[in-house]
Every structure is written in C-alpha cells, then in structure tokens.
Symmetry: C2
Subunit: 174 residues, 2 copies
C-alpha cells in the first residue's frame, strides 16, 4: 500500500465535515488537512520561516502558503514579522502530536527518529506524555529533542539543524 520511496503518491483529504456533530470533526477542519499536522510539528521543533518549512517538508509553496494562512486565521499560529509562531492554543496541540507519533513508533514498528527528554531530569517521556522519573506531564517547553536511532539522513539544512539537541519551541537558526 505504501509505494516505494521515490514515488510520492497523493491523496485528497478533506477539510469540511459540516454534517458531523462532533468536536473531533471541528478539530479536523483545523488540523486535519494534508500537511497541516506536519507543519505544526515543525513549529514545535523550532521551525518558523516559510522557506524552512518548505525545505523541510517538500510541500508545494502554494499549499504551504494556504496552510500557514489558515493556521493563522484559526489562531494556531501567530505571524510575527516573517516568523510563524505557535500561539498558546497551538502549543496545546503538543499532546496530540506526541501521542500520535508515539503510537506510530509503538505499533507500526517505526524506530523513533526523535527522542523527547525531560530537560530537568533527562528522562524520555512516555507515550502518555508523562515523565517516568518525575511522574508529571511535561510541557513542550520543558522537552529537549534528540535524534533517535531511526533518523535517516535528510541532507537539507533544516533537517541537519533539527538533529542537534535543542529545546522544543526554541527557534532554529539555519
């Protein structure tokens, strides 16, 4: 079902779920379109500039532009000069991003390519977002990102910078 690398298939996702009487549907109208979740993830990793998102995600400029605008409109991102920065509302998406990523690692036999360590104690947070050592939930600002064993070597400058350990939400410099 997954075409080999090189053939990048496409599929259409949807934005509207008008008939659905459910807050999950509302959420998916905001972050459920193709690429949107990966843009939010990159924002957590410290990506802020249009060109950095573009280089790292290989998403068409037109789509990236539309997604960023839409995220700003809905209040997930805020535009600060040429930077796109997560708002409070956006930062609260961290549990969603982290839980989904951990689910894939634990059930799709995907080796982790990034590890999230509680900066205060160096412990890797669990699938539930709790620090095993401290027993508390860890906010993204308190997490350090490290390259994991499954990290394949993308060579674009953004990928390179993202492999060096840093705090989540800390802006990267390319």
């Amino acid at each position: 079902m997954n075409p080999r690398a090189g053939t990048v298939g496409r599929m259409a996702l949807g934005k509207d779920y008008a008939a659905q009487d459910c807050s999950l549907a509302r959420a998916l109208e905001v972050v459920g379109e193709r690429w949107t979740m990966l843009i939010v993830r990159d924002a957590f990793y410290g990506v802020r500039r249009f060109s950095d998102f573009h280089v790292h995600l290989d998403v068409p400029r037109a789509v990236l532009s539309a997604r960023l605008q839409s995220l700003v409109e809905t209040g997930v991102l805020r535009k600060d000069g040429h930077d796109y920065v997560l708002t409070g509302m956006g930062r609260e998406l961290w549990p969603v991003v982290h839980t989904l990523a951990r689910w894939a690692e634990d059930h799709l036999s995907a080796e982790p390519c990034r590890l999230f360590l509680h900066a205060a104690c160096g412990t890797r947070v669990g699938p539930d977002g709790l620090c095993a050592a401290c027993g508390r939930a860890v906010a993204p600002e308190e997490l350090e990102i490290h390259a994991g064993p499954g990290a394949r070597r993308r060579t674009d400058p953004v990928s390179v910078v993202l492999r060096s350990p840093h705090r989540l939400l800390d802006p990267i410099r390319t």
Copy 2:
C-alpha cells in the same frame, strides 16, 4: 474560513509523506486521510457495520470501502464477518481521538456533544484522559458515552442510538 452550513466544501488531504523522516508522518499515512479518524471514532462509539458507518458519516461508499480496507490492512481494524472491529492497536488510538476532540472543545468554543464518564465513578475524564476522581488514566472500555449539551439532532438511526448512554466499544444495535 469555515463556509456556512449547507455549503460543504472539500479539500484534498494526502496519504503519503514518503520523504518525511518521522513517525508522525507514518501515523498520518495510516489515520491521516480524510474521514479515517472519524471512522475510527465511530468504531470506538460501537459502530461496526458498513451501512452504519455510511449512514452516520455521509461518506461516499467508495471512500468508505477504501478506508475500511486500508484500516484492516494496517491492523487498526479486524474484519469479523460483516463487522469491522477495533484491534488492540486500534484501541490504543483512543488517547489521540480523545485529546483532539477535547482540544477542539477547549479552544474552538465548540460545546461538547458527547461526554465521556468513567463508568466506575461517574466522573468526566479530563483533557489528558485522566479521571479527576481516581487520578488514573481510563481505558476506553471503562468509559460511558453520554450526549452533551452541544449535541445537535441528527435524525439518522445511528445518531439516535449513539445518543443513548453506553460503554465505548460496545456494539450498537440499530
């Protein structure tokens, strides 16, 4: 950005993120396409039959068929006769579904249309999936679904049945 009710816009979402070196991208290849997350949600609510998914979601039969097959292939659902049932791997998506839904309620000013109560104590679980009374994470089988204040009245038989309180994962009968 959200068109008024009646105009059901469409957008394309994608399935492949071949170039992405990230387990989140792997997860989105499985559950990131249009409708897929809502199908999984319905499965948690107790929906199991093709026609019930179809009636409740208003998704084209062709798409529903493709999504169900794909979810079976990836091991999120298991086919039991004419029933599509969540596997263990599928049930572990509950935190993702619940966190996303709660995020929308808390940040998109969407009134909850469904409440999830810890069956053992009747307490509504928090955005983090923890029972405030018991202090523990609650598995979906331990949750009772109740209609919330934001429930608009869809009149299809599946929606009607889903408004009566029942355990998550308990098959509904229409």
